[in-house]
């Protein structure tokens, strides 16, 4: 089965749908791979690497293709032909398709009996994570957004104290804490900036905080969890509160990175003209939603706009600007997808929810998308309160307190019985009960040993005393043994319990060794194995422990 990788035709697109590494994996799966000459040139992947990996370099990759792997949706080529006409009938096309925006294209592909798999429609379920190109690309876009912002920003990201004076750290606000937003948070944090994030979905709060960022919240209780890892549109009251929050932030922050997208809708306008105007000159806005119209009112897709000293970047090619890594991750996503579909013996199975979710054209028909599958695992909380910072602090505090408590419980709390608190343990009560019963039995002169001699009973009682006190001493001595020493402790107690050999020895009496004597000898022999073996192996073990 032939897999073809054409060169991307869209101007400015540097990525490619296969790398030499992924070609190797495709060939191992049983595909033959045709790569158009120069396909990887802009991603620093020259033809010779593909050839070395086993690909056939061709001028016309479309001929004979059964599977076509692309990055961008089919588009018009520079010679006037359109890629959608070039795909052989019955072949499978895998690429970004954005079917909601490109209904005509999908219909056309269906009419030509091309099976079209929109990689952007892969359901965002855990099983499909490894083929989720939206996430892998968003991660790159988030990283690059910060790098672009840094390029246009006239200061450090990290604060510095120098002999020449103090520089404050940059304050970065990320709106929308999806994959791209989190990547941007991580990158900005890594550069030393003060980072904050806003998201309508309460579930992402922990993720934001785990990146070391502050999670901003509004006072209106509403959760924006819209299914499939996206947010839904919010109520007017919420949006009003959100806008008020943004206006306050606009006066403070230096960099704003917006990543808010709602599936199949134009991007919501979140960063309005007056917010841009409230920002300090020299500030930067990076709009990752530029391709769907932009989150910022002043965004012009693919352009750099400067408005009253604030730079607004509407780049739509951020992933392409990291072409090598983007190609590598995208190619891996595709390899995973093809592996799941059966590798060299590829079949399209409509009962596979991943394939079904992404398949937009099949056997001449346009397929409607199936209902989205829920993705968010975190508990969805609805009672969002004010700014989270204070809450986080108290949380950590409680945790520390809890930890100390456990520690101290382990350290001291085990004096007598495992039961804690002030209450006397049930064992104590049982012992007192037993004592009472013994008193009654003695008074009445009954019980199993009523006719024993007084002297032997007294001896017995003394031994019980010794026994109980020894148990108590043992209990006290052994608590606090460090867990690392449990095995040596066990082997040394093994050796010590070999003391039973004394019991065996005590039977070696009388002139002749009777049956009892011989039993004693065997017991001594067995117990000596214990003594010698136990002490020696403990020694061997302890010699190994070193700091």
């Amino acid at each position: 089965m032939q897999v073809s990788i054409p060169r991307e035709v869209l101007p400015g697109e540097r990525r490619v749908a296969a790398t030499p590494e992924s070609v190797k994996k495709l060939i191992a799966m049983g595909f033959t791979v045709h790569v158009e000459r120069g396909a990887g040139a802009l991603a620093a992947l020259p033809d010779r690497l593909y050839e070395a990996a086993g690909a056939t370099m061709v001028d016309d990759p479309w001929k004979g293709a059964r599977v076509v792997l692309k990055v961008r949706p089919p588009a018009e080529r520079h010679d006037g032909t359109h890629e959608r006409e070039l795909i052989p009938e019955g072949a499978l096309l895998v690429s970004f398709l954005w079917p909601a925006r490109n209904a005509d294209l999908v219909a056309h592909l269906a009419s030509r009996h091309v099976d079209a798999l929109a990689i952007d429609m892969i359901p965002r379920i855990s099983r499909a994570q490894k083929m989720d190109a939206l996430s892998s690309m968003a991660n790159i876009a988030g990283y690059r957004a910060v790098i672009e912002a840094a390029h246009h920003f006239g200061s450090f990201f990290c604060g510095q104290m120098t002999a020449a004076g103090k520089v404050s750290p940059a304050k970065v606000l990320v709106i929308g804490a999806g994959v791209a937003g989190l990547a941007a948070l991580g990158t900005a944090k890594g550069l030393g900036a003060v980072v904050r994030a806003f998201d309508t979905r309460a579930a992402v709060r922990e993720q934001v905080q785990s990146m070391g960022a502050e999670f901003l919240e509004v006072t209106v209780a509403e959760d924006g969890e819209g299914g499939g890892g996206y947010a839904k549109e919010m109520s007017p009251a919420f949006i009003e509160a959100e806008m008020a929050l943004f206006r306050a932030q606009a006066r403070e922050v230096d960099i704003v990175i917006t990543t808010a997208l709602i599936p199949n809708r134009p991007a919501p306008k979140l960063w309005l003209r007056d917010m841009v105007e409230a920002m300090r000159p020299g500030s930067v806005v990076v709009d990752l939603a530029a391709e769907s119209g932009g989150n910022c009112e002043l965004t012009v897709p693919d352009e750099v706009v400067v408005h009253q000293g604030v730079t607004i970047l509407g780049r739509t090619d951020l992933t392409s600007r990291l072409a090598t890594t983007a190609s590598q991750l995208y190619a891996n996503n595709l390899v995973h997808l093809l592996t799941d579909m059966g590798g060299g013996a590829l079949t399209i199975r409509l009962d596979d929810e991943v394939v079904r979710g992404a398949l937009v054209a099949h056997e001449g028909r346009v397929l409607e998308p199936p209902p989205r599958v829920a993705v968010s695992k975190a508990e969805t909380k609805t009672d969002t309160k004010t700014v989270a910072k204070t809450e986080t602090k108290t949380d950590t505090k409680t945790e520390t307190v809890a930890k100390t408590e456990t520690k101290s419980a382990h350290g001291h709390g085990h004096g007598a019985a495992p039961a804690g608190g002030e209450r006397v343990s049930w064992m104590t009560w049982a012992a007192i009960g037993g004592l009472a019963a013994a008193w009654i039995a003695m008074r009445a002169g009954v019980g199993p040993f009523a006719h024993e001699a007084d002297a032997s009973l007294r001896l017995f009682a003394e031994r019980v005393t010794v026994f109980v006190l020894s148990c108590f001493v043992g209990w006290q001595v052994i608590w606090n043994v460090s867990p690392a020493l449990h095995t040596p402790l066990m082997s040394v107690t093994n050796a010590i319990s070999g003391i039973i050999l004394v019991g065996g020895m005590l039977h070696l009496r009388g002139a002749e060794l009777g049956a009892a004597g011989w039993l004693g000898v065997v017991a001594v022999l067995l117990a000596t194995i214990n003594v010698a073996g136990g002490f020696l192996v403990t020694r061997r073990m302890l010699a190994m422990f070193r700091k």
Binding site: K403, W479, L508, M544
Partner: protein, 465 residues
Amino acid sequence: MMEVFLSMAWTLASVLFISSLRGLSHQETARRGNSYGVVGMCVAVAAVILGEKVDRAHLPVLLPAMGVGAALGMVMAKRVAMTAMPELVAVLHSFVGLAAVLVGWAAWLDAAHEGTPSALLLGEIAVDVFIGAITFTGSVVAFLKLRGTLSGRPLLLPARHLLNVAVALASLSLAALFVKGDAVDPNLALGVMTLLAGALGVHLVAAIGGADMPVVVSMLNSYSGWTASAAGFMLENDLLIITGALVGSSGAILSVIMCRAMNRSIWSVIFGGFGAEPAPSSGPARAPEGEVVATDLDALAGELRDAREVVIVPGYGMAVSRAQHAVKQLVEILRAKGASARFAIHPVAGRLPGHMNVLLAEASVPYDIVLEMDEINGDFARTDVVLVIGANDIVNPSAQTDPASPIAGMPVLEVWKAKRVVVLKRSRASGYAGVDNPLFYHPSTRMLFADARDGMEKLVAKLQG
């Protein structure tokens, strides 16, 4: 006069044994503790011989017997692989049990020979033989299970609790008959009771699953102490009582610690059958969602090269394949490149309390980078890579998330909080508890299906090359 000398000797030996156990509770004093134990034992043996408790005529029999025993013990101690420590400990317990049974019978034969023994003595003999026989057969079964000769699965007879109670009651009645002495032949009564107690020991341990082995071994450790104590009552010997009580409580404490580490009541372990009981709460345990994602050594090596904070979680799988030396090398490589590499040890990792620590010590891993669960659980969130080597139940998140899970509430190592978890495992099979592990389906988890030692050695080679 000799009695006074002996009682002084017993006191000295007892103090030495207490010091020994006390020393064993900390790394710095552990070796001295062991030496105290040796001295204590020498004092005790010397006192018995010098105190004229043994007829000198019998020394030519006694000393060779001790010599043979000591030689056997030394050979076993020298030869045993650290991975086989659980078996050695179990077999040593069985010796104590058997010795106690023999001593009990010897005491009975002596007493019967000398005239009519008191009911008190007969009762003590019965108790000693009973505990000794349970310890003996229980330890043998535990030993066979640990060696793999017997399956680790719990043996679940129908109405097994009832069976235990019945056998215990039967033993008690036989003991009563034996003490009364006139109803039946006392030899027969004691003999049948010995056999019944032995059967009880077999059944009690056979009904306990392999994952509970650390508890079982500690329990048997405890029993071997109690049996020595019982022998002390029988022989009117304070040294045996004291020493037995020390060992008994030490084993009991270990059992309690192990049970807590598994969130299990001590009774459920004593009476066995864990892993087959219906879960206490309603509803079946949830089947995990998602997919197992496999990885390979190249990817893992790459991730380790970039990692700054690495935690290794060893389990029984590391012991089985003896991977500890390769793991040590891995840690050295990681530390040499400036990364932090530490170990996280769950209290019940392996088949013996503290088993992992011993194995790592054998591979000369410094003990200050080997951390306990409580010490390290808070650090997983900022860990780059967690490497789980042959462990399963102790890193199972359903203990915390799924109240219907059989291991619900058991404290576990929270490895899933780390950025990347790589689980090294021979196959997809579930752990000894037979519980499916959602960790394997966690988005940040990658599975490396390989033998622990083989995988580790190849990984080390890759990181060195």
